[in-house]
């Protein structure tokens, strides 16, 4: 049931393409299609590698070291996840563009032109900065669940910290890094707003051109199918990181918190690095937003409308997060505990929902919603279902990684003690995987609150969210007005991220 819902977007594309197979093949086999796909893959690889390179050290610093204010750093450095990448891109263009704020500051110093923010470099930078939290959140929650005894054993065997990290910790974290990296790669494939603003020709932009300019649903769907195929390939790649053995804790007994690694002389470089990252990924966009907001604040801001929109965002996002987490648990249990070709295929097809541009997912749900669930169409329930389907892979990634770290032995113990499989799960596996479940739900929540295309098409009429407010204002060119709901999005995201980052942070 759950899995069937998750493959709706892909099913829609197949149905539309089946209308005209010749045209579909023509579209898919165009040289331009291939060229654009390669460009997108190139960007996805670069951004994913960068996101991992940023996120893994930060995850380690904020969980396993004496970094002062680890929890605050973890929250702060996760926050960029909630900044819609197109807003992020706007702020970057505003700050670093050819006539941006930085240029304005530097001009008197005789600097005529900054290195171009446009093109591959800009897209790479901006997407990396706004997607690395996806890796950070999944990896942090995995580190917290690691079996410290393995590391202790290695340390006792007088291996250096670095070697232990490389030979013991890192391999154990592979599934989480893989899961986070996959999410980043899929996000990059699906992103339209940021790449378009930064003038990088990507595959998704191609989908938008066909959809927006030629109103050709067949061509749009054919390109969408190519994206689904790319997704399946990526997911298969990720499955490779998971297959290398199981990742349960091996030793008996319970998790004892590991003693944090003293940073010593590295304390200042670590703080410096975190500060730089926070400045780039959070400080700069927030600074620009605040600058705009301060200009707009003079005009009457309709705080009531912002408040209502915030509540709507939270409501739809929260419900979608709960629904997606519940669905992801059942799929993850299926995949992790009862692997079969069918369960694996369902899981993978579900990822397509995340790799497809929001508009395609939204149209798929319009298609099915009006045909099989008309009473729900354009109600809150429909929006919640759409958001849950769109972001389900985020929850699956986090939750299945968490489940993989809970030894099945514990569930068996519960069953020999008279608990059914559901009760065993609820009392043992569930609580032990809770950090992963919470991370998954939070990822869905944080993405759902900023989601735009599906919200516009499927929400109840006149159901304004913060994201639709940002959209309305930017469409109108009124950045001052857009800044306030965008800032509200960040504020909204802070509490759940703070709660989440409390796990494993050494105070």
């Amino acid at each position: 049931m759950v899995a069937a819902a998750a493959v709706l977007p892909a099913a829609y594309l197949v149905i539309v393409c089946a209308d005209d197979l010749v045209a579909t093949m023509e579209t898919i086999l165009r040289a331009r299609t291939l060229a654009m796909a390669l460009r997108s893959i190139g960007l996805a690889v670069a951004v994913t590698a960068t996101a991992i390179a940023i996120a893994v050290p930060v995850a380690f610093l904020t969980t396993r070291t004496t970094l002062p204010g680890a929890r605050a750093w973890a929250t702060l450095l996760s926050l960029p996840v909630v900044i819609p990448s197109y807003v992020g891109a706007y702020t970057y263009v505003a700050a670093l563009g050819p006539s941006g704020m930085l240029q304005g500051i530097l001009e008197p110093l005789g600097i005529e032109r900054l290195p171009a923010i446009y093109g591959f470099g800009g897209a790479w930078l901006v997407l990396s900065l706004f997607t690395y939290p996806l890796v950070l959140i999944t990896v942090r929650s995995a580190i917290v669940r690691l079996d410290p005894q393995l590391e202790e054993a290695a340390l006792v065997a007088s291996r250096s910290r670095r070697e232990v990290f490389r030979t013991i910790t890192l391999p154990q974290l592979k599934p989480a890094i893989g899961a986070g990296g996959l999410l980043v790669a899929l996000y990059v494939l699906s992103d339209f707003g940021a790449v378009s603003l930064l003038r990088f020709q990507s595959f998704t932009r191609e989908i938008y051109i066909s959809f927006q300019s030629s109103f050709d649903r067949g061509e749009t769907a054919a390109l969408g199918l190519v994206l689904v195929a790319l997704t399946l390939a990526l997911v298969a790649l990720y499955a490779g990181t998971r297959r290398q053995g199981s990742h349960y804790r091996s030793s008996p007994g319970a998790v004892r918190p590991l003693r944090p690694v003293p940073l010593g002389p590295w304390k200042w470089p670590a703080i410096g690095g975190c500060t730089l990252l926070a400045a780039l990924a959070l400080g700069l966009p927030l600074g620009v937003l605040l600058h705009w907001a301060s200009k707009g604040i003079g005009d009457a801001v309709d705080w009531g409308a912002v408040g209502t929109a915030a509540w709507h965002s939270l409501l739809a996002g929260g419900l979608a997060a709960a629904l997606a987490a519940a669905a992801a648990i059942s799929i993850s249990v299926l995949v992790v505990r009862h692997p079969s070709p069918v369960s694996r295929l369902l899981e993978r097809a579900g990822y397509a929902g995340y790799a497809l541009p929001g508009i395609v997912v939204a149209l798929a749900l319009v298609f099915f919603g009006t045909r099989i669930a008309l009473p729900l169409y354009q109600t809150l329930a429909m929006l919640v279902i759409a958001l849950a389907i769109h972001f389900l892979p985020l929850a699956i990634a986090a939750i299945s990684a968490a489940l993989m770290q809970v030894p099945p032995r514990l569930e068996e113990a519960a069953r020999t003690l008279g608990r059914g499989s559901l009760a065993s799960f609820m009392t043992v596996t569930g609580p032990l995987a809770a950090t992963g479940v919470a991370a998954g739900a939070a990822l869905v929540l944080l993405n759902a609150v900023k989601e735009l295309p599906a919200t516009l098409l499927l929400a109840p009429a006149e159901f304004e969210t913060l994201a639709t407010q940002v959209w309305t204002e930017t469409t109108f060119g009124f950045y001052e007005g857009a800044a306030i709901p965008a800032l509200a999005l960040v504020l909204l995201a802070a509490p759940p991220l703070y709660l989440l980052s409390g796990e494993g942070a050494h105070e």
Binding site: F211, S213, F215, T220, A322, A362, F367, A461
Partner: protein, 343 residues
Amino acid sequence: MPRARTAAILAALLAALLAGCGGDSDQSPADPDAPTGEAGITVYSGRIPPEIGPLIDLYEQRIGRDIEVRFGETAALAAQIVEEGENTPADVFFAQDAGALGAIQDQGRFERLPAATLERVPSRFRSTEGEWVGTSGRARVIAYGEDVNSDELPESVFGLTGEEWRGRVGWAPLNGSFQAFITAMRLTEGDDVARDFVEGMLANDVQPYENNIAIRDAIAAGEIDAGLINHYYVAQAKAEDPDYPVEIYFPPGDLGSMVNVAGAGVIAGSDQPQGAEAFVEFLLSREAQQFFSSSTGEYPLVDGIRADPSLVPLGEIPQPKIDLSEIDDLEGTLELLRSSGAL
């Protein structure tokens, strides 16, 4: 205890779920009017609240009933109407550009409008099939900044391929109005001329932007000196700030400032065709036309309503003989833009 904290998160989510169920029942009969017998109409609007909000309010006051408006991107809403098929809740589609109206017409999803409604607008600003009608017009102009002397400006857009404009001009190749402009150029001047223009612009280091507004703002910021945009975006900015440093110029030569339209049509199978027609009719009323003229700075299309006197009068802008909503013509334009590398 960390477990307690995650439990708190889960509990909060659950609480939201329960609260949501309650909230859902408040909102889900999405129709406040349902008990009174006749529901209000539903409008899918590609024009956003700041552009038409007051107009909707006025109409609701006028008919004494709420209407439901779904705002979104014009192209997305058009696709949505197609996907919804027979079950669409939409009664009226109010689109930002003629291409989207043509897409709906192609799919046979529009109802024919009454002749009386259609005839209020000159024939070049409405569907040849009589399925949609233009509600306001926007001219393609050259916007320019403070660094440009008005005598520098070329006779027509073809002048922008000249060396003196290298790197100084912006355009928005993804924009529907821009694409319609190129279509008009192909149909009136020929494919080769259009291709030469596009390639000449690219060779001249034209700067691509997301949309008209981005071009306007880039000119204001001094990033570029001129750009191809719809005329009324500048008027909107000047309404906010009278000193806004961008002016518009209607090139008199060749293609001139082709006029594009926003328009509306009644969705086929609407359960309230009369209400829907009445709304479209209202968009052509004196109040509405004056609203478009004064508030958004567009051209009113109904005879007898005067446009902003600072604009070149509508009648003086040469208009190519093309059907603005002909999708097939657009295909050739996309092909041209793609193969030349503009898209």
